[in-house]
């Protein structure tokens, strides 16, 4: 009996020891030679393209990439929680992030500089800007897209537009054309316009572009330095959007949909018009290929039908390297693959935002609607002044500015929900709130000794309709 027990025990012990030894021997071999990078961005339509670059990098032994697709309407929240928990991704993306937010995140030490990145071609150097892609002269992130596009192209179904009395190749040019066509297209289950009201940030961006098309100089009136949110073009733009609801041509589900849901329903034929950026071509081609050939696009409409002028300052980088990343060198090598000419051409063919190298669009094989949209940008976009470029200390003010609520997105949602009939007081309240916040941040920055005044927002030499600088 005893010898049996010993034998069993011995066998168990021996097996255990053998397993441990095997495990110890196997573990070094299983350990990855390549770092694994966590990558968060909102560019799901580009995932197939990016995957080829990542597979290429993995094959070269540089790094493996674990990609997580995020929704633009809540990626900021996800990043907040990730940073707080120490789980920030190595490469992060914050679509359309403002300079003020970027300055605060930089002050909170979210980023680290890229390692030995070659980013020197002329159009790349033009896109590098302190406070947007670089801090203290070092490159922290790279843009992959051009900054010169807007949110307010009007996408429409060509057949429905023709039935509503529009020229299906050019679409609406003036606000009145668009209103009339929307009214004509409304009937039964179909409506004239779908607005993604749940996506407050997108609505605010579209609204600002529409206001510029109506003649606003931008969010700031560069001659006076004041915020322009309560000025006539902004009020007119909001009244234009609300006119669709008054006419009954606004799709009632607008208040419940964000950009993705709104686009899905619009593509299904429930509405004639949809405001969207140039990436609509790409999303339709990959998700709704049966619909895309029947879609047309028009440049942003203006009150009188003339060509709009929309102003853009420098843009934040697309991909940043997080300060919590332990693989800065590997990530920088991977990001370098995103700066090659082949990448820009391939990017143009994916039809998201136009690539950083705009000439790539002509050399690429893209859908006609994308070419039309990008051609519209060439006529419309102008370079705007930016206080941060003239005085780097402005970043201190940006870092200290807090959000003002209700913001533009909420005001737009409120206007459509019937919370108030006249949006003017709320736009004025927002403009006043932003001025107060800027003054408070200015005083705090000045108290810390930074040389920054309200004059930094005044550009007396800015000429409307021309590129600044």
């Amino acid at each position: 009996m005893t010898s049996n027990k010993l034998t069993r025990r011995g066998m168990l012990a021996g097996t255990g020891a053998a397993a441990l030894l095997a495990g110890a021997g196997v573990r070094p071999a299983l350990a990855a030679d390549m770092p694994m990078l966590e990558w968060w961005d909102v560019y799901q339509p580009l995932q197939a393209l990016h995957q080829t670059l990542w597979d290429d990098m993995a094959a070269k032994g540089v790094a493996e990439v674990n990609y997580t697709a995020s929704n633009p309407s809540n990626i900021m929240q996800s990043l907040q929680l990730a940073y707080r928990g120490g789980n920030a991704p190595d490469v992060l993306n914050m679509p359309n992030v403002k300079a003020s937010t970027l300055a605060s995140l930089r002050a909170a030490d979210w980023f680290q500089p890229l390692d030995n990145m070659g980013f020197d071609k002329p159009f790349q150097r033009a896109a590098t800007a302190e406070g947007f892609t670089s801090f203290d002269g070092k490159l922290y992130g790279i843009p992959i897209f051009s900054a010169l596009w807007h949110f307010a192209s009007v996408w429409y179904s060509r057949d429905t537009a023709a039935a509503a009395g529009l020229d299906p190749t050019t679409g609406p040019a003036s606000w009145d054309d668009m209103r009339a066509a929307a009214k004509a297209a409304t009937g039964g289950e179909n409506y004239g316009l779908m607005l993604p009201l749940q996506f407050g940030r997108r609505m605010a961006d579209t609204f600002i572009d529409l206001a510029m098309a109506a003649g606003a100089p931008g969010e700031v009136d560069w001659h006076s330095g004041d915020y322009a949110y309560a000025s006539a073009p902004f009020v007119e733009a909001l009244e234009f959007l609300m006119s669709f609801q008054k006419d009954g041509s606004l799709h009632p589900a607008s208040s419940a949909v964000d950009a993705r849901q709104g686009r899905t329903r619009w593509a299904g034929g429930e509405a004639l018009f949809f405001f969207d950026g140039p990436w609509n071509s790409g999303v339709l081609s990959s998700n709704f290929p049966e619909v895309v050939d029947g879609i047309g696009v028009a440049n942003v409409p203006t009150p009188d039908g003339a060509t709009a002028q929309v102003y853009r300052g420098p843009k934040a980088a697309t991909f940043f390297l997080s300060s919590q990343s332990k693989h800065a060198a590997a990530a920088s090598r991977v990001l370098e693959a995103f700066t090659s000419d082949e990448y820009y051409i391939a990017l143009a063919e994916r039809m998201d935002q136009p690539p950083l190298d705009l000439s790539a669009v002509e050399r690429a094989n893209v859908h006609p609607t994308y070419r039309t949209a990008v051609a519209g940008f060439a006529e419309t976009m102008r370079i705007a002044p930016e206080p941060l470029l003239r005085n780097p200390a402005v970043s201190q003010v940006y870092a200290k500015m807090r959000d003002v609520t209700p913001g533009l997105g909420e005001i737009i949602q409120g206007a459509f929900s019937g919370a108030f009939s006249d949006p003017r007081p709320f736009l004025q309240q927002f403009a006043d709130g932003m001025s107060r916040e800027r003054d408070r941040a200015l005083k705090a920055a000045q108290d810390e000794g930074h040389a920054v005044t309200l004059e930094d927002w005044v550009f007396a030499d800015w000429v409307p309709g021309e590129n600044y600088g």
């Binding site: 929240q77 605060s104 002050a107 289950e189 009632p252 208040s255 429930e270 909420e410 929900s417 108030f420």
Partner: protein
């Protein structure tokens, strides 16, 4: 037989197994309830953005800013409106249903199960699903309303500022009705049947039985169930976040969502401000509960003396 030891330490040692078994619960309570509450109280005195690990001490500045913030009072008002409408609705409707389901009707088991099923669903999922059900175009509710002619045109339940809060209340009451029915049914079981029999012999109608026998005997239960329901009504975060996200234009923003918006949603979060809002609201609710207890105690004393 042994004498119990006199000293405190000795008594603790004698009961050591009790304390050992209580330790896990006490620890969890400390970590997940006591510590966050105290930490929140401390944060409410700081100007903290949640990025760095420290924040400047500002004393009561957050509370002063809160008192002057119209959106805070809007959230406070929405929460009070929710409480004052949803709680009586849920408690009263559940009582009526419990009385009906207490009788031995055919299919009463199926009805009870049907009423209780929404309780076991996840509130967040209910919010998402209800957005589709209440959709102004193509949602079943609007389809029925338009086909029966009860409403001309689509009714935008969740997108219309004046309807959204009431729609949210209705969904909340529907979801939680089952559990309150269970509470009431348990309470109804405590009423002896011979009281009803005696009333029937005296020729009382069903309504008189309800008003003269059921209601008075249920008074202590009413108080407890109302208190439980009122506390529940302040925890509507998950339902409202997925249903309306506080919109449209803050018309369904209750205190929970106000705190969440400032603590997590904002590009630059303000943990100190959000903590102050949570503290402020907690203090107000505690005061209200205290008042309720005092009033009930006084009624109880007067009732006892009579």
């Amino acid at each position: 037989m042994h004498q119990p030891p006199q000293s405190t330490l000795g008594r603790i040692w004698a009961d050591r197994w009790i304390y050992l078994f209580l330790l896990p619960t006490t620890l969890l309570l400390g970590i997940f309830t006591v510590y966050p509450t105290l930490a929140s109280l401390w944060f409410s005195l700081l100007d903290r953005d949640g990025f760095g690990s420290d924040g400047a001490f500002v004393g009561l500045a957050n509370y002063v800013e809160l008192a002057n913030d119209p959106l805070f009072w809007n959230a406070f008002g929405n929460t009070m409106q929710f409480l004052l409408i949803a709680v009586p609705l849920r408690v009263g409707l559940a009582l009526v249903l419990a009385v009906i389901l207490n009788a031995s009707l055919p299919f009463v088991r199926i009805l009870r199960t049907g009423i209780f099923l929404p309780v076991v669903t996840t509130a967040a999922i209910v919010g998402v699903v209800m957005r589709y059900i209440l959709d102004p175009t193509g949602g079943p509710v609007n389809l029925i309303l338009s086909q029966t002619g009860l409403a001309d045109g689509a009714v935008n339940f969740l997108g219309n500022g004046s309807l959204a809060l009431y729609s949210a209340i209705a969904i909340w009451v529907w979801k939680w009705l089952g559990i309150t029915v269970i509470y009431w049914m348990a309470a109804l079981q405590t009423i002896p049947a011979d009281l009803y029999e005696a009333a029937e012999i005296d020729g009382a109608t069903a309504f008189q039985k309800f008003v003269r026998i059921t209601l008075p005997l249920l008074t202590p239960f009413t108080i407890i169930i109302t208190l439980i329901t009122a506390i529940d009504a302040t925890n509507v975060f998950d339902l409202l976040l997925t249903l309306t996200n506080g919109g449209p234009f803050y018309s369904t923003e209750v205190i929970d969502i106000f705190v969440y918006r400032h603590a997590f949603v904002a590009n630059i979060p303000r943990l100190g401000y959000a903590s102050a809002a949570a503290m402020f609201f907690g203090i107000v609710v505690s005061l209200a509960a205290l008042v309720q207890i005092l009033v009930v105690a006084r009624i109880g004393r007067r009732g006892g003396a009579a």
